[in-house]
Symmetry: C2
Subunit: 408 residues, 2 copies
């Protein structure tokens, strides 16, 4: 008997028929003697519908009230999923985040989980219940409802698996695993049987939408065995996210290629090249709760430097205003500019550690296609570049081929 | 400065524009210096939509899960209403029933309020907030979400007014007050400026849909000043529900005529006429949580008696099955029959206490129209009769005229 946490995304619970499918799958695991915790998202489209309603009343909705509203999406789904299970003769009980309770900080719309009280769930699991928990939501210490941000249901699933010491956390989605890259861009993309946690983390942070990065971080921190599966296929083992590199001669150097169209580039030109500049620029950005991804600073020849960083497209104008209002005069920068017509492409693989020349191969491949590289950022197992948005698909396709990712 | 609780029904918050209207009205009261608690229902149609979804998954939905699902309707509205207020520059904060907290028993789908914790609301009101509370819902002692049954938002409003010691509880609805009868049936029906609590209680219990009976009971018990108003009119004083009969020569004998098409009649024929029969028949009905309204027992001549009672139409078959399975053989009844083609018509008025002959006037009026009376039930201020459903409108119209209710 194992304890399994299964998380189903919005498309997997999009309508009553699909919810019945989820219930049937849960029933099979139950019949095998497992204890099952089910985490569900809102029915696909619901969260956006609710946000739309909120924006009709307030263009930038008060975040506490927005969380109050959008958290209902998952609350409907847990009730419906529990009904589908009960209809199959399975004991089931739904829980909101607050009922579990999943304690978060009070950063509405992007709260972080602080603690999970597992006692209620444990007692119900031991009494034979399937526990159906609302993803994406929690409660702060004052009893206010919070949400974890887009994709937060994955985080809920992994955090519950960690808190309960589950044997496996299964993430059911509309794809049947993690691919070498997005098959919509490269039809030859291939499903990976397994991928290391570090690679998955890089892929997620670089824009692969299969798993939300925070859920992967959680899984890594608490050593949760994570598996990505399709909710639309009866069979298939999906992709297992492992903690150790397989000792395998055939281990590919590169596991996958991720990309991201959601970032915008902000450049601060002609900054005096002296200590503290990075903090003076990024401090006010952080204060405004804007996430910064890549950061690059070049040393210039004339005692000034150029400073470039990327933020989410939606926050570019906010960041530009902050820099122009509060920073530019203060630090004596010549110019502040923004560009949201960019895309980021990353190659990721633990094999990089033992193979040199990956970066040069990547740059050569892009150069041969005439694709200019605007920014470069590297980690031990990843090389990411920013290119003009219009070259994104081309870049991904040629890199997928150059690193022979279509081979089985 | 007064403390006012305003309750808005589903049609008053049916869409963003109407929610903005609610916010503007609240803003006017706030500008007068009042403290305001707003109680809202789900947007009209939402609760039925959610029940429909639930029934797609389970024909008779598990009540705990049903409450989990349908309580989201009000949760969306409180968030939207708070946003509309904040957009007007008014400090506002939404509360679910659990957040208040409104403690109920655990009778899912028809829970009763046991206690209301007023401390959070008081603190926020004193800090200048408008508190927007979800109607219709609460939480049991184990933290399960409960709902109060149809119309439960009125009960929430009155219960909050009682707990907070509010100066007035205003019930905003799609009619501008309490009428002598339903104007859709009798166009000459007239709005009452005031009505006594007892009359309102009888009208509500006899099928007048303006206020839910439990809210009137609550208002009576805790002496809450209740006013029914239209949310679609800027002006108008609606109908005030008073605690004392006005010392008014012009006080009409009859205040109004209520009717109800929702009941069905169940008759147990040929029951041995001995002690304990009523309990043996109605005990199993009560155990099944079926509400019984009118009860009539005739003494027969041959040592047997006929026993008749009414239940909600939706529960007639359930009640019949219980009687046939568990009761008929046991008590030796000859026959059990049900009839759901009936309607109940009631005349209500405190003036009845000092005027004789109301009953005979009522019976004569119906007889003149050839309307047969199937059952009669009376209280100090009410006479209710059950007639064939097809005569309902005719009965209401002739009684409205006979008691001169159209007169100003």
């Amino acid at each position: 008997m194992a304890l399994i946490v299964q998380k189903y995304g919005g498309t997997s619970v999009a309508n009553p028929e699909r919810i019945r499918n989820v219930a049937r799958r849960v029933a099979r695991y139950k019949a095998m003697g497992h204890q099952v915790v089910v985490v569900v998202s809102a029915m696909s489209g619901e969260t956006n519908k609710l946000i739309g309603l909120a924006k009709e009343l307030m263009a930038e909705p008060d975040p506490r009230e927005l969380d109050m509203i959008i958290s209902t999406g998952e609350q409907v789904t847990i009730g419906l999923t529990a009904l589908a299970l009960i209809e199959l003769g399975i004991k089931a009980k739904s829980y909101t985040g607050a009922q579990v309770k999943i304690l978060t900080d009070d950063s509405y719309t992007k709260a972080r989980i602080l603690n999970i009280d597992k006692e209620n769930l444990k007692a119900d699991l031991d009494a034979g219940y399937v526990c159906v928990v609302a993803g994406f939501q929690g409660e702060d210490e004052n009893g206010n409802i919070t949400t974890l941000g887009r994709g937060g249901s994955d985080t809920t699933g992994v955090a519950l698996a960690a808190a309960l010491g589950a044997d496996e956390c299964q993430i059911y989605t509309d794809v049947d695993g993690v691919y070498t890259t997005d098959p919509r861009v490269v039809p030859e993309a291939r499903r990976l049987k397994s991928i290391t946690f570090e690679e998955m983390l890089e892929l997620a942070s670089q824009g692969s939408k299969v798993l939300q990065i925070r859920s992967v971080e959680f899984a890594g921190k608490y050593k949760v065995k994570l598996r990505v599966l399709s909710s639309f296929e009866e069979e298939g083992d999906g992709t297992l996210i492992t903690f150790e590199e397989e000792d395998n001669m055939e281990q590919p150097i590169i596991s996958g290629i991720a990309f991201n169209r959601d970032e915008a580039k902000i450049t601060v030109l002609g900054v005096p090249d002296k200590p503290g500049i990075a903090y003076q620029i990024l401090g006010p950005i952080a204060d405004a709760n804007i996430d910064v991804d890549m950061i690059i600073q070049n040393t210039g020849a004339d005692g000034t430097t150029d400073f470039t960083f990327t933020v989410h497209k939606n926050e570019m104008n906010k960041a530009l205003n902050i820099l122009r209002d509060k920073v530019q005069g203060h630090i004596g920068a010549r110019e502040i500019s923004g560009d949201d017509k960019i895309a980021k492409v990353s190659v990721v693989g633990v094999g990089m550690r033992s193979h040199v020349g990956i970066a040069s191969q990547m740059f050569r491949t892009l150069a041969e296609e005439g694709i200019n590289i605007q920014m470069i950022s590297t980690s031990e197992i990843k090389i990411a570049v920013v290119v003009d948005e219009k070259y994104l698909e081309l870049a991904v396709r040629v890199l997928h081929k150059a690193f022979e990712l279509e081979a089985a």
